[in-house]
């Protein structure tokens, strides 16, 4: 029972459409779990359920043994870091201010906050000179680094990444993927990464969960998915994402 997050028979519907249908999922501590699947398969909804942006219709989600519900969600959110595609940085605040917003509201000491920012700058390779810039004055890659720093400020137990590199150009994306892998390894960070890119999932994920139509179809390593596809969909999904090397 080492898993940090448990989904038990979770269903979420938007109107008549199932976003998640009877999903069961465990996110293990210290690992990067990559959630992959075609767009609209419900993978982002899994993250949004954990953050409490949407609530499950049926079933139960537990975070560290505690049920995610209206009464518990505010406390649980402080133990999560959440990064979205375009960073979600607040444009009216400088990079530094984006970082200090949450710890200041949770009454962390000023010198501790400053120390943490310096640590994270080094970890994420973000230049300290960029801290006093506004998000619009930063490049896309730098914005994602700040966004990652913001998510890591309070040393969250779970880092949730929702297509964090999808909007970046390939070279920047590659650098960030490499740096992220290194950071997570150093921090032994538990991560749930949502992506539609199998190469990214294979590169970053210790474990891959493939989703389709609101359900987890197969879990395992990229090798497992290749060698023993659970069904025709898995086979097609894996082969459709063949890289340039194989062309």
């Amino acid at each position: 029972m080492n898993a940090l997050v448990h989904f038990r028979d979770v269903t979420k519907r938007f109107g008549d459409d199932f976003a998640i249908r009877d999903a069961n999922l465990e996110i293990e501590r210290g690992k990067i779990t990559a959630l992959i699947g075609p767009s609209g398969c419900g993978k982002s909804t899994i993250l949004r359920l954990i953050v409490g942006l949407v609530t499950a219709d049926t079933g139960e989600i537990q975070f560290d043994g505690e049920k995610i519900a209206a009464e518990t969600i505010m406390k649980i959110r402080r133990r999560l870091g959440y990064v979205i595609q375009d960073g979600g940085l607040f444009p009216h605040l400088t990079a530094r201010h984006n970082l200090t917003l949450q710890p200041r509201l949770f009454r962390k000491r000023r010198d501790e906050i400053e120390k943490r920012i310096m640590e994270l700058c080094e970890l994420t390779k973000f230049p300290g000179s960029g801290l006093d810039r506004y998000p619009l004055e930063l490049s896309g890659g730098q914005r994602q680094r700040v966004s990652l720093m913001r998510a890591l400020m309070l040393s969250p137990e779970l880092l949730l990444l929702d297509e964090p590199f999808a909007a970046l150009d390939p070279l920047v994306r590659m650098n960030l993927q490499r740096d992220l892998k290194e950071i997570c390894a150093r921090l032994q960070q538990t991560v749930l990464l949502v992506t539609h890119d199998l190469a990214e999932a294979a590169f970053l994920g210790n474990e891959i969960a493939l989703m389709s139509e609101g359900q987890i179809i197969q879990r395992g390593s990229i090798a497992d998915l290749r060698a023993k596809p659970a069904n025709e969909f898995v086979r097609e999904f894996v082969s459709a994402q063949r890289g340039l090397v194989q062309l």
């Binding site: 949004r48 953050v51 409490g52 942006l53 505010m74 959110r77 402080r78 999560l80 959440y82 979205i84 595609q85 375009d86 979600g88 940085l89 607040f90 444009p91 009216h92 605040l93 400088t94 917003l101 949450q102 509201l105 949770f106 506004y134 998000p135 619009l136 004055e137 913001r150």
Partner: protein, 505 residues
């Protein structure tokens, strides 16, 4: 109103309460007058101004403290203000009292007195002249067509009539007159009284309604058509006053009966329009009646007048804007959440906006607590100022992209923290644009406050309209336009301070 204020002031911090007190104290000078001061009102035309000035001087000579609120409005507004206690005295005409106020056409003087008395109002004997309605034409035009009486108009359907809005609607006005005389002109326009005179002189209209003592009749050499069927009732000038007036003041007013005949009134009106100063005309009356002038009249310099107008104008627009912000921001926040309540708020503020400003003022004046005062003008301006602020705040908040909204939630911020630290700053550009719109509209609309005697830059504009004097109109219109530009400029500067730099990149 007071009960409502008490219930929400309980939830306020001392700081907020101090602020509200400061706002309230700004309102006070406009609303409180010392108990023994007599307030005289006048309608917005020369003769009414002059008669009110005469009453003022007469009361002052009797040792009574007096204030004259010039050009407060039309019959209904003054009558309601008199009954409500907003004013104590104003000049009126017996015909108007019987027809319009008591709805008893043809009532005798004794009947009028009784009916007024039942409402707490007393009336002086007539002042000595009959200012009835009349139809007037340019002399050359009437001679060319050979017109002498109103009956003669029947044969000339091609004549263009330009009549005041009040005359068009009055029970002793156009409609019954046209029926009685069987006159059916092809074209009847509604036009302001003073503007109508210039239209008549220029030949844009052929016939207009007038008061028989209008200075313009003499000035322009106009011809009064004879009322051969004796349609127009008697319009003897009197003063109406509240019975609560001190005997000393009532005595001073009654002293004025039978002291002015028609010729004299036309001269006084002419003098007022020539000098553009009603007090000077009143002074002439006392100069020839009593000989000695007790308090020499000192004309207010233009600089002082301008300062007074601008100060009052800013007071009206400023206080109403502050109130609109205090109320509009929270309403905008609630409205941004949509739902039935949100729609109701946007709907209600939108409906207010569709009421013509003059109509809104007229609706507020008869209500208790309001009356003819700066307070009424401020409330009307406040109501007009709400929509842009509410709508822009709501739109600004609704336009915040979902990822930013959700990022704020995911960071674990409470609803209050999200609103203060994230959402309101992100919506600041839109909110400030709404406040700016309100401010500029308020500066413009505040000119109408003068119609209910609340002063401001509308005062010279309305006087100018009555005197048909463009210079006087511009004395108000130019500063009002400059003020609007200045306000715009001020808020543009404020944008630089209040909109976070990150949003201005």
């Amino acid at each position: 109103m007071n009960a409502g204020k008490a219930s929400w002031s309980r939830d306020l911090s001392p700081g907020h309460r101090r602020f509200l007190l400061a706002v309230a104290s700004l309102l006070l000078p406009a609303t409180l007058v010392s108990a023994d001061q007599v307030i005289i009102g006048s309608k917005k035309f020369t003769e009414s101004y002059v008669l009110a000035e005469i009453a003022k001087r007469s009361l002052e000579n009797a040792g009574v403290k007096v204030e004259h609120r010039q050009g407060v409005g039309g019959t209904i507004i003054l009558w309601e203000a008199l009954r409500g206690g907003g004013i104590d005295v104003y000049p009126e005409y017996t015909g108007t009292i019987a027809e319009e106020m008591l709805k008893e056409p043809g009532a005798s003087i004794a009947q009028i007195r009784n009916a007024l008395s039942a409402q707490g109002i007393a009336m002086t004997d007539d002042l000595g002249f009959n200012n009835t309605y009349a139809l007037v034409m340019r002399r050359d035009r009437s001679e060319q067509l050979g017109l002498k009486t109103i009956s003669d108009l029947r044969a000339h359907r091609e004549l263009k009539f330009g009549l005041t809005h009040e005359f068009l609607e009055r029970r002793d006005g156009w409609r019954p007159l046209s029926e009685r005389y069987q006159v059916a002109p092809s074209e009847v326009l509604g036009i302001d009284h003073a503007l109508g005179y210039s239209a008549l002189v220029k030949g844009e209209i052929d016939v207009k309604d007038a008061y028989s003592t209008d200075a313009k009749i003499g000035d322009y050499g106009l011809v009064t058509l004879i009322d051969d069927l004796h349609f127009f009732p008697q319009y003897k000038a009197v003063f109406l006053y509240r019975k609560t007036l001190s005997s000393q003041a009532a005595h001073a007013l009654n002293e004025l009966s039978n002291s002015i005949n028609e010729a004299r009134m036309i001269r006084l009106n002419s003098e007022a329009e020539r000098t553009k100063n009603y007090a000077v005309a009143a002074q002439q009356f006392f100069g020839t009646t009593y000989g000695a002038i007790t308090t020499p009249f000192v004309s207010e310099t233009f600089r002082n007048k301008l300062l007074r107008w601008v100060t009052r104008h800013l007071e009206l627009a400023g206080i109403s804007l502050v109130l609109a912000i205090i109320v509009g921001l929270p309403l905008g926040i609630v409205a941004s959440r949509g739902g039935a309540v949100g729609h109701a708020i946007l709907g209600a503020t939108g409906v207010i906006q569709t009421i013509p400003s003059l109509a809104l003022l007229a609706l507020l004046v008869p209500l208790p607590f309001f009356g003819i005062s700066a307070r009424t003008a401020i409330v009307a301006l406040f109501l007009y100022g709400l929509l842009p602020i509410v709508r822009n705040t709501a739109t600004g908040l609704q336009d915040i992209p979902r990822p930013l909204r959700e990022s704020a939630i995911a960071l674990g911020l409470t609803a209050g923290q999200r609103l203060r630290k994230i959402f309101l700053p992100l919506a600041s550009r839109s909110t400030l644009a709404g406040i700016k719109t309100s401010a500029v509209i308020n500066i413009g609309t505040a000119t109408l406050a003068a119609l209910i005697g609340a002063g401001g830059l509308g005062e010279p504009i309305i006087s100018g309209l009555n005197l048909n004097d463009h210079v006087t109109i511009l004395e108000g219109a130019i500063p009002a336009a400059l003020l609007a530009l200045l306000v715009q400029f001020f808020f543009d500067l404020l944008d630089r301070v209040l909109i976070p730099r990150g949003l201005r990149l």
